[in-house]
């Protein structure tokens, strides 16, 4: 069961402001999603190894070969917050 506190915590982790009304709404919706997935518990899975990828693929690598990087102006094109070739962020910590 997802509680109101859980929703508030998830909101904080995602840095999303959630109103009182939304908190209740999301709690109900998230619980209904969980219930839906709960149907899987009805299947016997004791002897099945956990699956994390639908494709049974291992070992995908690239060789250590240099490719061209983006020009600095392209990198910074999408932000207004820049200084001396760097992205600028508000005070943190």
């Amino acid at each position: 069961m997802i509680t109101k506190e859980d929703v508030e915590h998830i909101g904080w982790l995602a840095r999303i402001e959630i109103s009182e009304q939304e908190t209740v709404e999301y709690m109900e919706k998230l619980n209904s999603v969980l219930d839906y997935f709960g149907q899987l518990d009805e299947l016997p899975t004791e002897d099945v190894a956990p699956t994390y990828h639908v494709a049974e693929i291992f070992n995908v690598f690239r060789e250590d070969v240099v490719e061209e990087s983006l020009p600095q102006e392209d990198v910074l094109a999408n932000t207004e917050h820049k200084q001396d070739g760097a992205f600028k962020s508000p005070k943190i910590v």
Binding site: H9, L70, A86, F87, V93
Partner: protein, 495 residues
Amino acid sequence: MVYENPDGVKIGLEIHVQLNKLNTKMFCGCSSKYHDSAPNTHTCPICLGLPGALPVLNKKTVEAAIKVGLALEGEIAEETQFHRKNYFYPDLPKGFQVTQYDYPIVSKGKVVIEGEDGEHTVGIWRAHMEEDPGKLVHIGSIEKSKGVLIDYNRSGMPLIETVTAPDMRTPKEGRRFLDKFRNILEYLDVFDGNLEGAMRVDANVSVYGGTRVEVKNISSHKGVEKALLYEIMRQKNVIRRGGKITQETRHFDEARGVTIGMRTKEEAEDYRYFREPDLMPMKVSDWIPRIKETFPELPDAKRSRFIEQYGITDMHAKSLTSKIMLADFYEGVCKEGTDPKQAATWTADVLLGEFNYRDLVISSYDGSTIGCINDKDHSITNSVRVADMVKLISLFADGKISDRAAVEVVRSILDGEEEKTPLQIIEEKGLFKAEDDLVTKAVSEAIAENEAAVQDYLGGAEKSLNFLVGQVMKKTKGTADAKTAREMLVKELKG
């Protein structure tokens, strides 16, 4: 003698090592050679975390991790994979860091160091692969920051994080562990420790009656001893005054040599690790035999071989193998037919001593020349050729120059503006050992010109003899053998 550890100090280290010898980053083809570049010039959609960009793992990262695991005598996992560690901080453009969680590639290793009471084993809990975040520059100090500038050139560089057991008991053991670990990494040729940010260390420290405190931001292997000394003293003082140690994260300020408590977060850390769906799991344990085939000789093995093969002392062998480049240089000198014991003395004692005196750290060896950079200013470089060392030692061994003159040649090689061979330096400075009659002449002159000193000496003032020897050395420009000069003076004056 067993080290008692009276304060119950326990130190564990987390060491981040950048695999900066690789050509490219961990998940994209951006060049890893960004250290002298303008900000955000070594980035692409993958390492900037732009939507839709897909990472593909650099094979060499995995090979390097296996090498490190084998060198640490650890277990290499049959199957291993990546996770996402989610948190908001501007050094991570994606909002998560790709790292390893419950299936690290390496586990259960060990490193034997020279401890307070002889050989001491430090356990390795794990070593895993992860990506380096970008670099933040705080506008103002970290405590009074007005904002940050972010450079993503470092973002996505391959790292290996190694976590030790809390087996170290003094700051000195902490430093020795790091020195040894760094040396091993250089032997494996996966890492250049002289590059900025190549090795970053966090330490977990506790004392009796306290709890574990994490010290972050120890950026040099020399800083670790200072940070640990301070933190242990701080914790002991708090307990002595009846206070309580709180479990917290502290920041090491290297310039001031202190650790500073960071504001604690209201919420406990919650990284919501989950499997990285963009990267496939790996089964790479079958690479081990191939990697072992080309595995380099590690420091301890080389040290034993040097003692056996060259008949040198353990002190010399230890010193010479403390850097792979120095060990290779030494063997280069020996290969030219130089007496290994002489080569050890002139390399480990004289050359290394002169390097240290000038704050030079060894940074390269190309088979014929050993290169150094100044530890405080990396733009200052220096070098010494194997051929010059061989010639110098042979001139000394043949009695053509005194040991003092030979040291002067080494200094001239390091301090001279132009590149010169030892023979050129010896000729220019007139350093060839003086012929006996030259010394005889200098002795007579010294006696004739310094009557007061002669009288003092004859009157029992032994010190005056030192003055006269000095005069002879001056007259022969240091080419006379001091012992011979002294004997000749005594003979001349006292018959």
